[in-house]
């Protein structure tokens, strides 16, 4: 087209005289043949996978069914749930304290919290668990008293730190470091104007946190916290190194005895999937509760 062309006289005339009427015409949508090809290929692959899962005798679904709800397995699932619960509860309780230490104005509290988080994020969980398990080797007795001074009362570590409590302690201390950062992130995400408004209204400090800051921080804490709970839940399988009868350990014990490795791993897998699903559903409802008044 040339820039100096004459105005399109013909079209302009048509525009002025009568406009074309498209309303009677049939609309033909765009076809996507390659999308259909991709659907067919994917469907075949999925069908093959399902076929392999169901028909391959190696999966031994009958053995799976035999063991899935036996007493031993159910007991192991219960221990796994307990480890997750206590690890999460203690971990987040300590994490909240650490988060507010890092947010405080005291340089000492800040650096203690920072160092804690640095240390426990640096040490692999499995190494830390073995440390706790061998605490008796390091410290024979625990004294409560003045540092470097006299003690008031003391414990034998052997009686204090059993395998189960060592595991809970290890998981909780590990979890606290991550929880602290998640909580801190959530608190920082709350608009500064909210605290200012609360302060201007004279609302007491603790009430500001509980009523104004935390409910809003929860919105950004929850998705990350749910991630952490789920990963801790599956992470409890690491505790099997301490010979605690949680799900993964018990499964190993059974297949060590009867040699049916694959179906028993499936028993553990399906339990992990079921419980993770329950947690995800719980997450949905808790998040919905804390999204009151929000537009997205």
């Amino acid at each position: 087209m040339s820039l100096t062309s004459d105005p399109p006289v013909g079209k302009a005339a048509a525009n002025g005289a009568e406009r074309e009427d498209y309303s009677a015409l049939k609309v033909v949508p765009v076809r996507h043949p390659w999308r259909w090809a991709a659907v067919v290929v994917t469907a075949v692959l999925v069908a093959q996978f399902a076929h392999g899962l169901i028909t391959n005798p190696g999966w031994e679904w009958d053995v799976f069914a035999d063991f899935f709800t036996t007493r031993t397995i159910l007991k192991a699932v219960w221990i796994t749930i307990q480890l997750t619960f206590y690890g999460t509860a203690l971990g987040f309780a300590l994490g909240i304290v650490l988060a507010f230490m890092r947010l405080s104005r005291s340089p000492f509290l800040k650096s203690v919290a920072f160092t804690y988080i640095w240390a426990f994020r640096s040490i692999p969980l499995i190494v830390q668990l073995l440390f706790w398990f061998n605490l008796t080797y390091l410290y024979k007795r625990l004294d409560f008293g003045i540092p470097f001074g006299p003690g008031f009362f003391s414990f034998d570590t052997a009686g204090l730190v059993g395998a189960m409590s060592a595991a809970v302690l290890g998981l909780a201390l590990h979890q606290a470091a991550y929880a602290a950062e998640i909580v801190r992130g959530g608190v920082l995400a709350v608009d500064g104007g909210q605290l200012e408004a609360a302060a201007a209204l004279g609302i007491p400090r603790l009430r500001q946190l509980r009523r104004i800051v935390l409910p809003q921080a929860m919105r950004s804490i929850l998705p990350n916290a749910a991630n952490e709970v789920i990963s801790l839940f599956k992470g409890t399988s690491i505790v099997s190194v301490m010979a605690i009868g949680e799900l993964f350990y018990q499964v190993q014990v059974i297949y060590g005895r009867n040699g049916r490795v694959v179906p028993l791993l499936m028993v553990a897998t399906v339990w992990y999937i079921i419980l993770t699903t329950v947690l995800s559903i719980a997450q949905y409802y808790v998040e919905r509760h804390f999204s009151r008044g929000a537009t997205r």
């Binding site: 608009d191 104007g193 909210q194 200012e196 408004a197 609360a198 302060a199 201007a200 209204l201 004279g202 609302i203 007491p204 400090r205 009430r207 009523r211 104004i212 409910p215 809003q216 804390f290 009151r292 008044g293 929000a294 537009t295």
Partner: protein
């Protein structure tokens, strides 16, 4: 009349930037003072200092006879604990430019929160008072709404009701209409005018010259951390004596 607010030689710096360079101001009980001035002149900092949201470096501020942020004992001034400062603030209402309503609480809960938690009023009584305040700002039907469901003008009216719920002796407004769409400014100014006519002591930082002319007893013009000129609206707005006041007014009028 007695001085409700008494500000004496107040200085405040942020780092090397001195934002308040010796402010002296007195606001009488029942007076409406409007503070004008270019942005960066220290108006908002001064307002926030009155509420102790900003701590001053030197000088002092007293509200209704008590020093803000300090307690005098003999010849010493003791810095107040946070709890005591919070208690002082319940006597001063503050309205923010960006409303700062609590988004996760309903309109009613926003208003009830401070009377219940800071003044320990019985909840039932606070709810009744809040409903009356909502009616007063024309939002009686919005009690159950969440702030984000309201327009900016409605949110600011809720914020005013929230500040009034503490029955403050003094109201501070920090550019209450600057974040609003032009057609919503009027409804908020009407509420403030209403309060002014009822004899509420208030200090309003604003850019609404028309509002200043209509409502103010005193217009204070600030520039560069100092009060350049103060007087009745007719003096300061129509016959400014200072060059900087003239220059500012010629730009905004």
């Amino acid at each position: 009349m007695t001085a409700m607010v008494d500000i004496r030689s107040v200085h405040k710096s942020f780092g090397s930037l001195e934002v308040l360079r010796g402010i002296d101001l007195e606001v009488r009980s029942g007076e409406v003072a409007v503070v004008l001035g270019p942005s960066g002149s220290g108006k908002s900092t001064l307002l926030r200092a009155i509420n102790h949201l900003e701590k001053v470096d030197s000088g002092w501020i007293s509200v209704a006879g008590s020093l803000v942020g300090y307690r005098r004992q003999g010849d010493r001034l003791y810095e107040l604990r946070e709890r005591e400062i919070l208690k002082q603030r319940t006597r001063i209402g503050f309205v923010f430019q960006n409303f700062n309503l609590f988004p996760h609480l309903t309109v009613l809960e926003n208003i009830v929160e401070a009377p219940v938690s800071a003044l320990r009023r019985p909840r039932k009584e606070a709810v009744r008072a809040a409903e009356a305040l909502l009616a007063r700002v024309g939002l009686a039907d919005k009690a159950a709404a969440y702030p984000r469901q309201l327009s900016g003008g409605q949110q600011q009216r809720v914020a005013i009701a929230r500040a009034l719920a503490l029955e403050p002796e003094l109201l501070l407004f920090d550019e209450p209409t600057s974040a609003l769409d032009p057609e919503l400014v009027g409804e908020v100014l009407d509420v403030i005018k209403d309060l002014a006519h009822q004899g509420t002591t208030m200090i309003v930082v604003t850019h609404e010259i028309g509002f200043a002319r209509e409502v103010a007893d005193t217009v204070v013009f600030m520039d560069d951390g100092r009060i350049v000129e103060r007087g009745a609206p007719a003096e300061v707005l129509d016959a400014p004596r200072h060059e900087r006041t003239k220059a500012f007014l010629s730009k905004v009028l």
